[in-house]
């Protein structure tokens, strides 16, 4: 396929871009991939590695994914979001492996005609991702201990 997929930005086939990667997340590419003349709003969310949680300090994080299912589940969540809000394009990348402080664990970019629905859909996707997408986080604390993180419920 010789054509550059970026040359047809309104093409529905490009509406969803998903990846799970060991490489640092290029949020510029993520944001650019959702821009559209049909949209007045782009919302980008980055989840980054925070140093302090309560009275503990993180030295690094480790993420593991069941990649095959994670991609299926992400697509399912996006399709649900697209039924609830007039979302035009969504790009989501989740990083796996070791992450240092400040690095980006997840990037989600979304474009919508107006801002309200963009914020709502981005928040919906983030909260659903944390509920159902099979990816796990392990904290490596500065005191040498490690914890697989369990959601506070």
């Amino acid at each position: 396929m010789p054509s550059n997929t970026n040359s047809s930005p309104e093409n529905g086939a490009n509406a969803i871009q998903l990846s799970i990667t060991e490489q640092p997340i290029d949020y510029n590419a993520l944001t650019e991939s959702v821009r559209s003349n049909l949209c007045g709003a782009v919302v980008l969310f980055l989840g980054t590695v925070r140093e302090v949680t309560g009275d503990k300090k993180t030295s690094s994080l480790e993420y593991e994914a069941y990649e095959e299912m994670a991609l299926i589940e992400l697509r399912r969540l996006i399709e649900t979001a697209m039924q609830k809000w007039p979302v035009k394009k969504v790009s989501i990348t989740h990083r796996v492996g070791y992450l240092d402080l400040g690095e980006i664990a997840i990037g989600i970019a979304i474009s919508t005609p107006h801002r309200k629905e963009g914020f709502e859909a981005a928040q919906y996707l983030m909260s659903q991702i944390k509920e159902t997408v099979p990816i796990w986080k392990k904290e490596n604390w500065t005191d040498g201990s490690t914890d697989w993180v369990h959601p506070e419920k």
């Binding site: 069941y66 095959e68 994670a70 299926i72 664990a105 997840i106 099979p134 697989w148």
Partner: protein, 85 residues
């Protein structure tokens, strides 16, 4: 009585570390439910007991309910609550 069914179990994250392997075969009585499977898994691997009431099970990329029936040759992914993002 029917022969037991054979399934493949994929483990992830903390569960994989507890059990010490990411993929293994497992036998179940025919007509076992997903709840039966989880119970037997923890009985066979008591080191995974810490997760027992929270384990999630998926087949072909979809989550199973406790009442779903496990079939012979199923590949079941089994893991603790997710914590990505």
């Amino acid at each position: 009585m029917s022969d037991p069914i054979q399934i493949t179990v994929l483990c992830f994250a903390g569960l994989k570390e507890k059990i010490g392997t990411s993929k293994f075969s497992f036998s179940l009585p025919v007509n076992s439910s997903c709840a039966n499977f989880k119970q037997r898994l923890v009985t066979a691997h008591p080191e995974a007991k810490v997760y027992s009431s929270h384990l999630l099970v998926a087949r072909n990329g979809s989550y199973l309910n406790d009442s779903d029936i496990i079939n012979n040759q199923d590949e079941l992914a089994c893991f603790p609550p997710v914590s990505g993002g």
